[in-house]
Subunit: 611 residues, 2 copies
């Protein structure tokens, strides 16, 4: 046994006990006759002290050790002189009250007086400091990830991840979900994202694929009568990477039979509330708000609005959607930009009327960046001197008054107005809104605002090719009232689905849908998506066959676990919550993967590498 | 909402309530004026009855539905005539007490009188019966796995698997193990088994590998100070398959820092006891027995003895191992087979003295099969007429008496004795012992006999090439007292490891070891295994580097989850506990994977398929 206690465990009530601890040297302070060491392990830090520096007996062999014996005077021990940061040591001795307590440490009232010390392993000087605020750059920390993971803030991320995984499973298990492992070696059926593939040695020339999600398998489990399924499962996508994308990522994957959308939303809203409560002690007594996809796009310019702050869009022109009405407050006075715009839309930045020219110019620069690509912003501010806009030469005070009314503007507010093609302008205004939220400190990571976005379109059309794509995936069912349009291939853009996303603080945490459970409907869907019947049968014949043997109505959801954990950890970079992440080139720089493999492996697999 | 209750939920106390159920048609009995249907879901079976067959109103559209209205007389409904096995239906009506109760069903006291019925989905006649005892062959059931999984006994396997996974996690979490996900896309370092590899698109010509186990990552987590790690994780081996091997399999993977072997055995013995208790209500108050590898090989001819029955080996010659003694009871009387044998060893089959010549001949045939390859068995039986052997012409009654004493034989017993090279003969006798256990019904799958096998050799030598292989894996530490032999490359066969296996009923459920945590030791180990220093650095440099930055002493274990679940399910075929298993050619016959992939995918990956 290497220790009797951990480094986070001892309290004043333990004073007098003789204990053994083991851990890493966080810090050494040599104060002449005394030597203090902060000894660290996963559970905490305990101060140890060597008092009788001149009284000791050298231990036997190994990396260095000594026994304190006040009766014998000897040389100052080499072991102590060498002791450096991150050395692994084992110490024994009595626990005693500290002279100067450290109120910041749970163990801060005590220290361990060393009577024996043994170096279990030496350590080279780490390439960066093992502190919450480290001096190590990204690449260096990834190469020495095992050292990076020693930092307390990073370690806490994994403690959080562990607790969330346990709570998710406990909740789902209590709600009769069965955890079932679906296969990792499956069939390649790339839709949208690319599959990672695995050459088969036993079936030469053939490949497995790694799942982008266990979608078809969980549906088959519903056909199999498993009723409720879940899995916290690795999924794989061979996509170009960004900060919030990894080639392998983890999903909370769920499916339920004999359910309608309402049952599913209630179940997973319950799960989310359980997580908020158990992890953050945040209680949501009300139902999460719901917003249709259309409402989200019109009100926030995106399908995942951040509701931690307002600035909901208001338009000054009638909405160009079919059937929409609204008074035009901007056209016909000769301001060409607004006259020619399909939509003029803005946000009210409350309390920002006092912003300087420099500040508003910076906003214009922000939206003009190529990533956003807008042409400008029209401002209207209400100061003590009244309403004042950057287009005063076109609009009368009465005009401006009407604008102010539409936005429920108060003195001290600042309107930011953009104009152009409706969809594009809304997307640009969404970027501006989020930027304003950041600037105004309205996006506090410790505040949580969940939202269901519902009534997604089933399909979206590629502007260039005219091809229809499934907005969620090809297994999502149309709303029953829209189903005929799928068979008729008529008015496809208006087909809605019982599909939903859970959005928290502007991040899409997950989503799902009611699925198709009927062969003819699934066939119609594949036809709309441009599959030949042969292709559909080759790729998904097993699923359509299954629908003919008594498939129940079913639906489900999947949640991005990495994202959810990082959201709960108040951070945006999911790599801080993945033990061994890949970099943006898909490389693990620590183990240096991917790498070349032996010719003998290639030969056995019957493949060659080109070029 | 499709249902108010499940099909396993209603009891007599619910009589009078109006309920809605949904499920599959298990059975239809048309008794003239009444029609009985057994409606099934995951939770059970409920009898539903349509009483007023002639009184109904046809419902609207869909696959068929009707509403019962005793006031209106109409045609016998088509819906009912068509209703077949595995149709998915929804029914509503009052719960009432049954006339003839079915004591075999938890819902057997009640039935639901149908007032409304709706067919939710039709079903073709299933290709095999959905019953515990099915008429479907293996291939057919695998092709329609989603139907096979509907069988109650198969479904129960997954309920068991779910419960075991939850209990394992709860136990480990309560013992401060952190669940950490290790990567699936790693580096190819094939040792022993072949890796599955994944071509990288972004790093052309390079490959990831799928992990055979997270071994190096869990060790890095110990270097990272995570202290205790676990994961229930998929692992992959591209091996030729057998009944208990799958290309992807699931492991309970664990690692602990600052531990000695004793700490690890206690922790996982605790986990095993927790599982026995929580799943099977079996309490093990005593510690699991422990047996050294040598003792297991000598006493049972294998490193995973089945202790549900005795028949421990006894030898009639001195053991040929160095330093072993024992009286020779067989040589020197002219029986050439025994004279020339390195070892004469046997088992006592208690109570089998009465076995017929036919039965003992069958045993000889059994061991003569090429898989075993023995030459024969010498029998000694003790009947009412005294001791009688098949080698009476060589041995005096005094000889035989001494044999009987060595085996503590009683009247009624039968000795089975084999002879030859020591190791080979023990292996053959092991097969005979297990076969006798089967014949005598001594291997009851409902009885559990756990055992730790300890003190494994660190290395084993390939007879043909003379090369040394790691018996567990190259990261296993030698016992400290044997460590110098590794550096000296002397007497390698005698190096023992603090390595251990958990064996239950003759099945190796898992195992582990204390690991190397020192760079020079790891380098010495790789040299012994025939790695060049360059090769070792290329493949495992990251781990050896990590050992230089303060690696704590550590060790761990991994358990085969598929095997453990099947053992707890009293079955031997792990495929019954894997939702979508592969067949012996590594194929998933349901989805038809692996399969050819598009040329465009190959081109993007920069690989070509040969031939």
């Amino acid at each position: 046994m290497y220790r009797t206690h951990t480094c986070g465990e001892l309290r004043l009530t333990d004073a007098g006990k003789t204990v053994t601890l083991a851990g890493w040297v966080q810090r050494v302070r040599d104060l002449g006759p005394f030597l203090f060491v902060d000894l660290r392990d996963r559970y905490g830090i305990t101060q140890i002290v060597v008092e009788w520096l001149d009284y000791h007996v050298k231990g036997e062999g190994g990396l260095g050790s000594f026994v304190v014996d006040p009766a014998k005077r000897a040389e100052k021990v080499e072991t102590l002189a060498k002791l450096g940061r991150e050395f692994v040591v084992q110490v024994s001795g009595p626990v005693r009250q500290r002279d100067n307590e450290n109120p910041n440490l749970p163990t801060g009232e005590i220290e361990v007086l060393v009577t024996e010390l043994k170096v279990l392993n030496a350590a080279k000087t780490p390439p960066f400091t093992i502190e919450e605020e480290t001096d190590g750059g990204d690449e260096l920390r990834m190469k020495y990830r095992y050292l990076d993971l020693r930092r307390a803030n990073i370690r806490r991320n994994f403690e959080l991840r562990h607790r969330m995984a346990m709570e998710v499973r406990n909740y789902l298990s209590a709600h009769h979900f069965l955890e079932v492992e679906t296969p990792v070696l499956i069939k390649s059926t790339p839709e949208g994202a690319r599959d990672f593939v695995v050459p088969s040695r036993m079936n030469s020339g053939e490949f497995y694929a790694l799942p982008q999600s266990p979608q078809t398998f969980k549906q088959l489990l519903m056909v199999a009568g498993f009723d409720r399924y879940f899995q916290i499962v690795k999924c794989f996508r061979d996509e170009d990477l960004r900060q919030d994308r990894q080639p392998e990522f983890t999903q909370i994957d769920c499916e339920m039979a004999f359910v309608e959308q309402e049952d599913i939303l209630n179940t997973f809203e319950g799960m989310a509330k359980h997580l908020f409560k158990s992890i953050h002690e945040v209680e949501f007594s009300e139902a999460f708000p719901r917003m249709s996809f259309d409402e989200a796009m019109k009100g926030y310019g995106c399908d995942k609005p951040d509701l931690r702050f307002g600035m909901k869009f208001q338009s000054l022109t009638p909405d160009p959607s079919p059937g929409e009405r609204g008074e035009d407050l901007v056209r016909g006075v000769g301001f060409k930009v607004f006259d020619e715009a399909e939509l003029v839309v803005g946000i009210n930045a409350e309390g920002c009327a006092g912003w300087s020219r420099k500040q508003t110019d910076a906003l214009i620069e922000f939206v003009k960046r190529p990533q956003i690509g807008a042409t400008g912003i029209v401002f209207l501010k209400w100061t003590e001197e009244g309403l004042k806009s950057t287009v005063d030469k076109f609009y009368t005070p009465e005009h401006l008054q009407k604008w102010a009314e539409r936005f429920c503007m108060k003195q001290g507010d600042l309107l930011c107005i953009m104009a152009g093609k409706a969809d594009k302008t809304r997307k640009q205004l969404n970027e501006l809104r989020l930027h304003m939220g950041d600037l105004l400190g309205l996006r506090d990571p410790k505040v949580f605002k969940p939202l269901w976005v519902i009534d997604f379109p089933l399909l979206e059309q590629d502007e260039e090719t005219g091809r229809w794509h499934a907005m969620h995936h090809p297994f999502t069912a149309p709303k029953p009232e829209d189903a005929q349009k799928l068979f008729d291939q008529q008015d496809l853009g208006s087909v809605r689905a019982n599909a939903y996303d859970l959005v928290i603080n502007g991040t899409e945490i997950g989503g799902g849908s009611i699925r198709i459970h009927d062969r003819t409907m699934q066939e119609a869907m594949f036809r709309v998506l441009g599959f030949t019947d042969d292709d559909a049968r080759y790729k998904f014949g097993f699923l359509m066959d299954a629908f003919e043997y008594g498939a129940p109505p079913h639906g489900g959801a999947a949640f991005g676990f990495d994202r959810w954990v990082s959201l709960f950890g108040h951070r945006t970079d999911i790599r801080e919550f993945i033990a061994f992440p890949k970099n943006n080139s898909g490389r693990d720089v620590m183990i240096d993967a991917p790498s070349r493999i032996d010719q003998i492996q290639l030969d056995e697999l019957g493949i060659t590498v080109k070029g």
